[in-house]
Amino acid sequence: MSQRNPEISKGVDWSLVWLWALLSFIGIMAIFGVTYHEGDNVLQTFLRFRTDYSRQFYFFVASAFIGMFILLTDSKFFPATANLWYAAGILLILLVFPLGSKVKGTESIIKVGGSFQFQPAEFCKICVCLALAKYLSRPETDFRRTQSQLIAAGIALLPAAFSIMQSETGLALVYLSFFIVMYREGLSSAVLIIGFSIGTLIVATLLVEKNLLAIILTAIAAFVIYIMRRQIKRNRALLVNIVLLWGLCVGIQRFGVPFIFKHILATHQVERIFSTIGKDIPSEYKKVQKGDQVKVGVKKDVDYNVKQSKIAIGSGGFAGKGLLKGTQTRFDFVPEQRTDFIFCTIGEGFGFIGSLVLLVLYLVLLFRIVTVAERQRSVFSRCYAYGVGAVFFFHIAINLAMTVGLAPVIGIPLPFVSYGGTSLLTNTILLFILIRLDADRQMVLR
C-alpha cells in the first residue's frame, strides 16, 4: 500500500500506532481473562460475535479500519470542519433528551437498532477537542483576554452541562481536562491554583467538622493579616480582599458544599464520595426517596465495588496469579469488571509488575503525545494534541485512582483497555486524527 500511495505512511508517528495496538491487545486479553469460561473453544468463540472478547476484537478491527480511513483523509479536513463537528456533537447530545434510554443509572445513551448502544457524550469529546483547537488557533483570538478564556471554557463545558443533566457526571468531569489545553495556551496559573484550592477546600469540608473548619479558616485569615500588616497599612484594599476571600471560603464550606450535596448530586454519588474518604454519610445529606427504603433483601455495601476491587488488585501481589488464575475477577466478585474495573484483572493476574508495565505504557503514551504536540507548527494541531493528551490523562488517572480506592467510583472507562465499542472507537478516532495532523506537522493549518 505504501508503494502505491507513499503519502499515507509518510510522517506517521509509528510509536503512537504501536502503543495503540499494544494497549488494545492488553485490553482484549484482559477481557478474555474475565469472560473466558473453562472448556470454551477459544478459536471458535473468538471468531463468533458471541463473547465479550470476540466483540472487543471486532471493535478493534473496526477501529483499525476507521483509523486507516482517517489516515487517508486530508489533514486540512479537520480544522476546516471543526465547527461542524462541534455542532453535530451538540446536536447528538441534545437528541438524547427525546430519544435516550436509561441504562445502568445514566440517561445519556441512545439505542440504535437492537443491541447497539451509542453514547453521544463520549463521541462529543472529539468535537470539543477539534472545536477548542479551532477556536484557540484563530488568528483573531487573543487568549490573554478574559472574554476569550470564558468563550473557550464555554466551548469545553457546554457538553459537560448537558451531560450532567443526563445523570452522567463521570463523563462530564472529563471535560474539565480541557483546562489543561487552555493552561498550555496561556491561561493564568492562578486559575489552576484557585481550582485546586477550591478542590482542597471541598475535600476539607467533607473531612473536617464544619465549625472547626470555620475556626481554622478564620485563624488562617487572621494569620495572613498579621503577616501582611505592613502591606495592609499601605493598602487598605488588600484587607478587603483578604476578608472577601475568607468570606468566600467560609461561604463555600458552610453553604456551597451542602447545597451541592443536597440538590445536585444523586444519592449514589454522595454515597460513593463518602465511601472514598471512608466516612459515614451525615444525616443531612441523606435523601429519602420514595421506594428507596422499601427494597427488601441483602443490600451490598456502598463501597462493595471498591473493596472487592482492592482485594482483587491486592491479592495479585508482586508477580500476580497469572492470566485466568485470578479468583476475584474470574468469579464476578468485582462488578463492572469488563468495563470500568478492567484494571482489576491486570492487577490480580499480573501483580505489581504487570500494573507497573501498564502504567509505564500509558505514561509513555502521554509523554509522546505532549512531545508530538510541542513539535507542531500550527497552533490548531498543538491544541488538538494537548486536548487528546488531557482527555486520555483524565480517563486514565481517574479510572486507576478509582480502582485502587483513591477516588470515588466514577464510571469512566480505561482508554483502549476497557470493554466497550464506543469508547474504543472514540479514543481511536481521537488518537488517529492526532497522528494524521502530526504527519503534516510542517504544514500550517488554520
Binding site: 473453562e38 489543561i180 493552561y183 498550555r184 495556551e185 496561556g186 441483602v298 472487592q308 482492592k310 482485594i311 482483587a312 488488585i313 491486592g314 491479592s315 495479585g316 501481589g317 508482586f318 479468583t327 476475584q328 474470574r330 468469579f331 464476578d332 466478585f333 492487577g347 490480580e348 501483580g351 505489581f352 500494573s355 507497573l356 502504567l359 500509558y362 505514561l363 502521554l366 509523554f367 505532549v370 504536540a373 510541542e374 507548527r377 498543538r382 494537548y386 493528551g389 490523562f393 488517572a397 486507576l400 485512582a401 485502587v404 480506592g405 483513591l406
Partner: protein, 697 residues
C-alpha cells in the same frame, strides 16, 4: 521553533508524572506491602468443604453389623428456583399448612439467600421421601440430599452402642477446636469411647465459590484436597441374638442383665431395663424422643448394668465362703446350727428362710440353702480372725479381698461413666460409730447387705473369677479393631491382660464353693434354673431395698438377683441378672438367666423355655412407686413453668386431675418456644396416663 508558553509542557508532564506516581504508590501499598488482600481473596472465593468420612461399623461376635450407616434424605429448597408449583398440593404432601410453607421459604431466603439451597425439612420419613420422589417433577426448586445416619438394624443394645449427636460448644472447647460446629460426635457408649477409631479422618475439598456464594467448581483441580479416610470397624464380643433375647426378657422391668465370657472377659450381652430402641435417637423424631426419655423417671437412658448399684444380697455368699476358706477360719465341713435366726449378736437377726433340718450342716449345704445365719457368722469369723490384732485389721483384710473380687472398684469397662459400687473402708465405720464398732455392727455385710453395693457388671465379673478359679479379664466389648494401629493396641492391651487376683485361693476351696453353687441349681434355691445336660453353678439373691418418697422411707419389694456361670467345667458364660422390686431371686431373675444360658450354650431354647420367654416378657414388673414419682416431678415442673410464664393450665391439670387439659388449638397463638414446651408436657402427660392405665387394668 520557540513557541509561546512552551515551558508549560514541562509542568504538564510533571502533573502527569505526579498523578501516576500517586497511583503507583497506592498500587505498591496494596500489592506488595499489605499482605491481607491475598487471604481476603481466598476467603472470598475458596470454600474449604469438610468431607465427612463414613463412620466405622460395629459388628457382633458372629460378624453381623449391629451398628451400621444408612442414608436418609434432607429436603433442600432453592427459593429462586421455585416456579409455578402448586403450593397447596405441596403442603398437603408435606402435611404442613401454607403459612408454615411461607415461613420456611422466608427463613431460607433470609438465612441463605434465594439462590443457595437451604434445608426445608431434615431427615424425611421414608414414606414422605417416597411420596416426594414420585411427584418431584412437579416441584422444581426442591431436591433431596443424602445425609448419612447411624442405624441399629437389630433395634438393640442402645445402652452399649450409644449414639451420636451434634457436638456441643463445651465439647468443641475440650477438643481444642478439633471438632467444628455441626459435627456429629459419639455421645455415649461405644460411639463415645471409640470415637477416634470410628470417626475416621476428615477430608477437605477446596471449592470455588462465586460472588453469590454458589459453588462453581473445585479449586486448582483439587490439588490441595485431602481425601477422607473412612472410620474403622469394631468387632465386639456381643452376641446380638442373646442381646435381643435379654432385652425382650427385660421389657417392662427395671434392672439389668450382664453376660460375660469368663475366658476372655468379653461381654456377650448387657442390657438395662427399661430400655429403648436406639433408632429413636437417630431418626426424624430424635429430639422429641430424647425429651421423652429424659423426662421419664424410670430413667430409660441410664445403663443400670454399670450405673445401677444394688446390695448383692445372697449372691455375695460364695465370695464370703471363699474368703473364709482362704483365711482358714472354716473348712468345707464347717456347719452352723441355724434355727431360723442368728443369735450370735443377741438381736436375733438376720432371719433365715430355712429353719432346722441341718440346712447349713456343711459349706455346700449352706450355699445351696442360702443360710443367712451361716454367712453372718462366717463374716464375723473372718473379720474377728485372731490372726489379726483387732476387728479393724480383720476388716481391712476382708476389704482387700473384696477389692480383689472387683467389688468397690471400677473395673475399667470400655463404656463411659462406670460406677464402682460401694465397699466401705474402716474409716467410714470409724466415723459413723466413733471408733466403737465390732463385727456385729456391720454383720449383714456377710449376707451382702449393710452398706455393700455392687453393680451388676461387678457381680458378673466376680462370677468369672470364681469360674476361672482366681483370674479375670477386664470386662469389655471390643475384641478387634479393623486395621489395628499401635495406638489401638495400646488401648486394647488393658483388656488383653490376665488379672490373676485371687489365684492364692486354692483350687480345692474353689471346687467346694463351685460344688455348692451347683447344688443351688440341683437341689437348692434355684432349681428353676436347671437345664438338662448342662452343669450350672448359680446363686440366688433377694435383697431388701428402700426408697424415699414424699419424705418418708418406703420399704420396697425385694430385688430379685441371680448370678451364675456354666458349664461347671470349662465355663463359657457368666451371668448376673437383677430385677428390681420383683421378689425372690428364683422367681424372675433365675428363669431369665436360665433362658439366656440355654440360648447361648445350646444356641436354641426348648419349648418350655419359649413359653417362659413369652410369659416373662409380657409381665409388667415396673415398680408401683414410679407412678407417684412421675407425678411429683411432672407437677413440680408445672410449677416451674408457672413461675416462668404465669401459665397455670398445667398446674390445674395436676391439682384437679379431672379437669380437661387445654387442647393443642388453644396453644396455637402462643409463642413458638411455648409450643415446644407444651409438646414436651403433652408427651409426659400421655406417657403418664398410659402407665396409669396399665396399672389399673
Amino acid at each position: 521553533m520557540p513557541v509561546f508558553n512552551q515551558s508549560r509542557s514541562r509542568i504538564i508532564k510533571l502533573i502527569f508524572t505526579v498523578a501516576f506516581l500517586v497511583i503507583l504508590v497506592q498500587l505498591f501499598n496494596l500489592q506488595v506491602i499489605s499482605g491481607k488482600y491475598r487471604k481476603l481473596a481466598m476467603d472470598n472465593a475458596v470454600y474449604p468443604k469438610i468431607v465427612y468420612p463414613e463412620r466405622g461399623i460395629i459388628f457382633d461376635r458372629k460378624g453381623k453389623a449391629i451398628l451400621n450407616n444408612s442414608i436418609m434424605y434432607d429436603m433442600m429448597v432453592t427459593p429462586a428456583e421455585i416456579k409455578g408449583i402448586d403450593t397447596l398440593e405441596f403442603c398437603r404432601m408435606m402435611e404442613i399448612d401454607t403459612a408454615e410453607f411461607n415461613r420456611r421459604i422466608l427463613d431460607a431466603r433470609f438465612k441463605n439467600t434465594a439462590v443457595r439451597p437451604s434445608i426445608f425439612e431434615d431427615l424425611l420419613t421414608p414414606e414422605l421421601q417416597v411420596r416426594f420422589e414420585e411427584n418431584s417433577w412437579k416441584f422444581p426448586g426442591f431436591v433431596l440430599v443424602q445425609r448419612p445416619v447411624r442405624v441399629y438394624p437389630f433395634k438393640a443394645a442402645a445402652h452399649i452402642l450409644g449414639y451420636i449427636a451434634e457436638v456441643s460448644p463445651k465439647q468443641i472447647e475440650n477438643s481444642e477446636s478439633f471438632y467444628r460446629m455441626g459435627d456429629y460426635v459419639g455421645q455415649t457408649g461405644l460411639e463415645a469411647i471409640y470415637e477416634k477409631v470410628l470417626m475416621g479422618q476428615r477430608g477437605v475439598q477446596y471449592l470455588i465459590k462465586d460472588n453469590k456464594n454458589r459453588l462453581v467448581g473445585s479449586y486448582e483441580k483439587g490439588e490441595f484436597d485431602t481425601a477422607a479416610i473412612a472410620g474403622r470397624g469394631l468387632r465386639t464380643f456381643i452376641d446380638i441374638e442373646l442381646q435381643q433375647l435379654a432385652e425382650k426378657l427385660m421389657t417392662n422391668k427395671v434392672g439389668s442383665v450382664v453376660a460375660l465370657d469368663p475366658k476372655t472377659g468379653g461381654i456377650l450381652a448387657m442390657t438395662s431395663g427399661p430400655n429403648f430402641n436406639p433408632n429413636e435417637l437417630t431418626g426424624p423424631d430424635k429430639n422429641k424422643n430424647y425429651t421423652r426419655l429424659v423426662l421419664d423417671v424410670s430413667a430409660p437412658l441410664l445403663n443400670r448394668a454399670i450405673k445401677g448399684q444394688y446390695p448383692p444380697g445372697s449372691t455375695f455368699k460364695p465370695l464370703g465362703a471363699l474368703i473364709a476358706l482362704d483365711e482358714g477360719v472354716i473348712n468345707a465341713n464347717y456347719g452352723f446350727p441355724c434355727g431360723g435366726r442368728y443369735h450370735g449378736c443377741g438381736i436375733g437377726k438376720p432371719a433365715c428362710t430355712h429353719s432346722g433340718g441341718g440346712h447349713a450342716a456343711t459349706l455346700r449345704l449352706s450355699i445351696a440353702n442360702s443360710c443367712n445365719s451361716y454367712y453372718a457368722h462366717v463374716y464375723r469369723l473372718t473379720v474377728d480372725n485372731p490372726k489379726y490384732k483387732n476387728v479393724k485389721d480383720g476388716y481391712e483384710k476382708w476389704h482387700d479381698y473384696m477389692n480383689a473380687f472387683g467389688l468397690g472398684v471400677r473395673l475399667g469397662i470400655d463404656l463411659p461413666s462406670e460406677d464402682r459400687g460401694n465397699i466401705p473402708d474402716t474409716a467410714v465405720y470409724n466415723r459413723e460409730y466413733r471408733n466403737q464398732w465390732n463385727s456385729c455392727t456391720n454383720l449383714t455385710l456377710g449376707i451382702g447387705q449393710d452398706k455393700m453395693l455392687a453393680t451388676p457388671l461387678q457381680l458378673a465379673n466376680a462370677m468369672c473369677i470364681v469360674a476361672n478359679k482366681g483370674y479375670y479379664y477386664t470386662p469389655h466389648f471390643v475384641d478387634k479393631i479393623e486395621g489395628e494401629t499401635e495406638e489401638d493396641t495400646a488401648l486394647l492391651n488393658k483388656y488383653r491382660k490376665k488379672h490373676e487376683v485371687l489365684t492364692n485361693i486354692s483350687d480345692l476351696d474353689y471346687n467346694e464353693v463351685i460344688d455348692g453353687m451347683q447344688d443351688v441349681v440341683e437341689s437348692g434355691t434355684a432349681r428353676i434354673a436347671k437345664i438338662p445336660g448342662i452343669e450350672i453353678c448359680a446363686k440366688t439373691g433377694t435383697a431388701e431395698n428402700f426408697t424415699f418418697l414424699d419424705g418418708k422411707k418406703l420399704k420396697l419389694p425385694d430385688n430379685s438377683m441371680f448370678v451364675c456361670f456354666a458349664p461347671k467345667e470349662n465355663p463359657r458364660i457368666a451371668l448376673a441378672v437383677t430385677v428390681e422390686n420383683a421378689g425372690f431371686g428364683s422367681t424372675w431373675a433365675g428363669p431369665i438367666a436360665r433362658i439366656l444360658m440355654e440360648k447361648y450354650l445350646n444356641d436354641t431354647i426348648q419349648e418350655k423355655s419359649k413359653a417362659d420367654v413369652e410369659r416373662i416378657s409380657n409381665t409388667d414388673l415396673m415398680p408401683k412407686y414410679y407412678i407417684r414419682k412421675q407425678y411429683i416431678t411432672d407437677s413440680l415442673r408445672a410449677v416451674e413453668w408457672f413461675k416462668l410464664t404465669k401459665d397455670s393450665s398445667y398446674i390445674k391439670k395436676y391439682v384437679f386431675e379431672n379437669t380437661t387439659a387445654p387442647g393443642p388449638e388453644e396453644n396455637k397463638e402462643q409463642g413458638k418456644q411455648e409450643k415446644k414446651e407444651s409438646l414436651v408436657f403433652r408427651n409426659v402427660e400421655r406417657s403418664y396416663r398410659q402407665k396409669q392405665f396399665v396399672r389399673t387394668t
